[in-house]
């Protein structure tokens, strides 16, 4: 592809712009941001647990780094990201399979997109509510002082 062909591209700005497509765009970039965040945590978690192979002292030293209020806050964020990514991911599987979408019709004013129906919107809200609930439960476990 020629370089000149790319002049109209908005790149990351278009990817992150939530204003143009409403809640589906917010859901779109939240799915990607949570995915990248969870992948980073996954790689970090594998590195963290590898300290087990160096004995109890190395494990204790790693826990001193991670089992802190800041570590617990990061874990809470991970819990919320996992819940959102899972619930919204299931919604997307249905959406990609054509389930829950409205039937296409004549584009009469005010041009409501059939894909943005109540099922799709409520799916996004359910994902957000599940994430908040999971974070609340996680906070009660992590900061509950059991």
């Amino acid at each position: 592809m020629e370089v000149a062909d790319r002049n109209n591209r908005e790149g990351m700005k278009a990817w992150l712009n939530p204003g143009r497509y409403g809640w589906e765009r917010v859901s779109y970039w939240l799915q990607r941001l949570t995915g990248v965040g969870l992948l980073a945590y996954f790689v970090g978690h594998i590195y963290e647990t590898s300290s087990l192979t160096q004995g109890p002292d190395a494990w204790a030293a790693m826990l001193e780094l991670t089992q802190t209020p800041m570590g617990h806050l990061i874990l809470l964020l991970i819990i919320g990201m996992s819940a959102y990514h899972s619930a919204n991911g299931i919604r997307l599987i249905f959406t990609h399979g054509g389930k829950g979408l409205g039937k296409p019709g004549r584009p009469d004013y005010p041009y409501d997109a059939v894909s943005l129906n109540y099922r799709q919107k409520s799916g996004i809200w359910i994902a957000l509510i599940l994430a908040a609930t999971a974070m609340l439960y996680g906070a009660s476990v992590l900061f509950g002082g059991e």
Partner: protein
């Protein structure tokens, strides 16, 4: 560079995502069946790695999330830019990273299980 069609890759992405949901749920429940503060004690964690069904669960989590996660990263990078060289590079890099993470995690599982050398 296409060994699989994108539609097949997306099916793998969905299947690994849903399967990971179940195995990660079991992994988290294993931490909650004993008091949370005790669940991270060295002896308890090592005991988990000596439990063969749990080791198989950990290995499945490792493989499922590595495939799902690095394929997700590949999808994001391919959405940002399109050219043959970019797509091939991204595909190769994500496959190499996925294999490296699986190999490193598997090494931890084998050594912590006591069957390492």
């Amino acid at each position: 560079m296409t060994m699989l069609r994108e539609s097949q890759i997306m099916k793998i992405h969905y299947i690994t995502g849903i399967a990971a949901l179940f195995v990660v749920a079991v992994h988290i429940l294993m931490r909650l069946i004993i008091p949370f503060s005790l669940s991270l004690e060295y002896e308890n964690v090592i005991a988990n790695y000596h439990n063969i069904p749990y080791v198989l669960l950990l290995e499945s989590i490792l493989v499922l999330i590595a495939i799902h996660g690095f394929n997700g990263l590949r999808i994001i990078l391919l959405e940002l830019r399109q050219s043959k060289a970019w797509e091939d590079s991204v595909t190769i890099l994500t496959i190499v990273a996925m294999m490296a993470v699986i190999a490193y995690g598997t090494r931890t599982i084998i050594v912590a299980n006591g069957s390492g050398f």
